[in-house]
Amino acid sequence: MVMIKLETIDIVFSYDGNSGPMILDDVSIQLAPSRILGIVGPNGSGKSTLLKCIDKIIQPDHGSVLLDRREIMKMGRMEIAKKIGYVQQTISRGFPTSVFDTVLMGRRPHLSWRSDEDDDEKIWEVLRLLDIEDLALKYFGELSGGQQQKVLIARALAQEAEVILLDEPTSNLDILRQFEVMDIIRDLVNKKLVSAIIAIHDLNLASRYSDKIIMMRRGKIVSAGEPSYVLTADNIASVYGVEAIIRKQSEAPYIIPVGPIKTTMRQ
């Protein structure tokens, strides 16, 4: 039997209840322990919404999310926060906060009022692990995009989450930082035994780092499986409307987009 860390069963979500357009339409996914699941798909295909439903940030109209076979929708928010970390795509600016304090927020689900030495030590450990200890006293807003992304991943680790959801962790990063951030996630999955679900636009990063990929379009799953099974020229043509050449490069397929397909099939 295949081990499952987290699964969603027939998730349905629309913004105006049943009357509005479907954002997620019967989405069922499965995530194995210590694996990376990549979610790809065009803008508006429901990737971010799916992540938010999994973390109960928004409530799906229908369907369930099971973590270690327990229904998440029946769990309290604090309990969920001890298990699932969510690294958001847009970084909303609040009042200036140091890197240390930002990561310390990840301890919130484990704390009542005061943090003790152990909590502090956990933060330092996480900062060291991601090699950002030197940034601890800087303001979050002063950091570069790549550093900010690392800090947010550090916060999810401070949460001691078993599953980390990442929404576009590499957008706005240069190619070296993209690799750095994805390597960190890969290492964490390999060594810390966390599982990750990553919504990502870059098909080649998805191909290279994911164990499994699901491809979505307009709230539905079009294809799911190994990268080489999902990332085919046909799928990319039908989902993105882009002609692509697929090269095989050390197991993972490598996608070279050629250009938009000018047929009436696409909208």
Binding site: K52, D55, K56, I57, R77, M78, I80, A81, K82, I84, G85, Y86, Q88, S92, G94, F95, P96, T97, S98, F100, D101, T102, M105, G106, R108, P109, L111, W113, R114, E121, W124, E125, R128, L129, L130, D131, E133, D134, A136, L137, Y139, G141, Q159, E180, D183, I184, R186, D187, L188, N190, K191
Partner: protein
């Protein structure tokens, strides 16, 4: 080829330089917070010497401390009366009101994620103003006698914040919606108060505008006790939510993912802050500036961790209000300038100086 994770330092090892620096900064924060009560104590002594009876600073402190440690400090009957009956009530009002306005301002800025949030931008004081106009012009209110104006101010301030919460909850109590509802309340109660002004007599008009300038000298120890209880309860609630306030400053979705039910916390904090503000404003009238700027100054000094920021904003609010009142009583003595206008006149230039001087972004 995954880069291997580098591990440096060990759990039991010595603290790194940056850890030392971090501990040092926490120590400085605590020290700064502890300095504020000392500052309040000093200004209290100075303020207690001001007035028609000539008291030295030593007389003032002896009179204050005599009631606390009667064996160690001696005082004359005159000093005791002067300090405890005439001057200290006013000083205690300044500290208490400043504390309440400061701490609730800091909490509101956090839940609304907006540096402009204050009792005034949210219309709570406009609500109170409207209640007062109703009492002064139409003699309409919930209670009689001296409680007519106080009761109206309190109830309409709470009503206003209740309306904001109620309206916002229909659309999910996000910070943006709450601010917009607050601004709407500000306009509607402001407009209604103006109507009353139009129909009022000269005497009534004068009374209303005095109320709008804020005054600390109107009430004694008795009423102060009521306000102190309100402030103790409200501050306790706010301090208990310090962690949640920290998390909420980074956005609702992140807050939820960190286990904080942001809309619920927003409603609790809004209610507690409104209670504080309504309680103060009902007695003192409108004292602007402190709820907005006290927290900003505290944030510049202490940082944005609400476990430190909340007490610091309260204490700094007390320092500013007491300082402003002391100056207001001195500049053209024996005339006492109303404290609401003095805080703004003195505080705003200082505040602008701080903003211009600081290199870093603070909001």
């Amino acid at each position: 080829m995954a880069k291997t994770i580098r591990r440096r330092g060990t759990r039991t090892g010595k603290k790194s330089a940056i850890q030392e620096e971090h501990s040092k900064r926490i120590g400085i924060k605590i020290l700064l917070i502890l300095t504020l009560p000392v500052l309040i104590f000093i200004i209290t002594g100075i303020s207690a010497t001001l007035g028609s009876a000539d008291l030295t600073i030593w007389d003032a402190y002896s009179a204050i401390l005599h009631r606390i440690f009667p064996e160690h400090f001696y005082t004359s009957w005159l000093s005791d009366i002067c300090v405890w009956h005439l001057r200290l009530p006013r000083i205690a009002w300044a500290i208490t009101a400043g504390f309440g306005l400061g701490i609730s301002g800091a909490a509101m800025q956090a839940i609304l994620r907006n540096p402009l949030a204050s009792p005034f931008t949210l219309g709570i004081s406009s609500g109170a103003s409207f209640g007062v106009s109703l009492a002064i012009v139409l003699n309409l209110g919930f209670f009689g006698g001296m409680w007519l104006i106080i009761g109206n101010a309190f109830i309409f301030a709470m009503l206003c914040s209740g309306l904001i919460l109620g309206l916002a909850s229909i659309r999910g109590a996000t910070s943006e919606i709450m601010i917009l509802c607050g601004i709407a309340m500000n306009y509607i109660f402001g407009a209604a108060s103006s109507l009353f002004k139009y129909f009022s007599t000269d005497q009534e008009l004068r009374e209303m505008s005095f109320w709008g300038m804020g005054d600390l000298g109107a009430f004694s120890w008795e009423e102060l006790r009521i306000v102190m209880v309100l402030i103790a309860i409200g501050s306790f609630v706010l301090l208990r939510k310090a962690w949640d306030l920290n998390v909420m400053t980074v956005g609702d979705e992140t807050a939820k993912s960190l286990g904080v039910e942001s809309n619920r916390i927003r409603a609790i904090v809004m209610t507690a802050s409104s209670l504080l503000i309504a309680g103060i404003v009902a007695f003192t009238g409108i004292i602007g500036f402190i709820g907005l700027v006290g927290p900003h100054m505290a944030r510049m000094i202490i940082g944005a961790d609400h476990r430190f920021l909340l007490p610091a904003s309260g204490l700094l609010g007390g320092v500013i209000l007491l300082g402003a009142d002391t100056v207001g009583r001195t500049i053209i003595a024996p005339i006492i300038l109303l404290v609401g206008s003095v805080t703004s006149m003195l505080g705003v230039p200082f505040f602008l100086y701080l903003i211009m001087k600081r290199r870093r972004e603070y909001w």
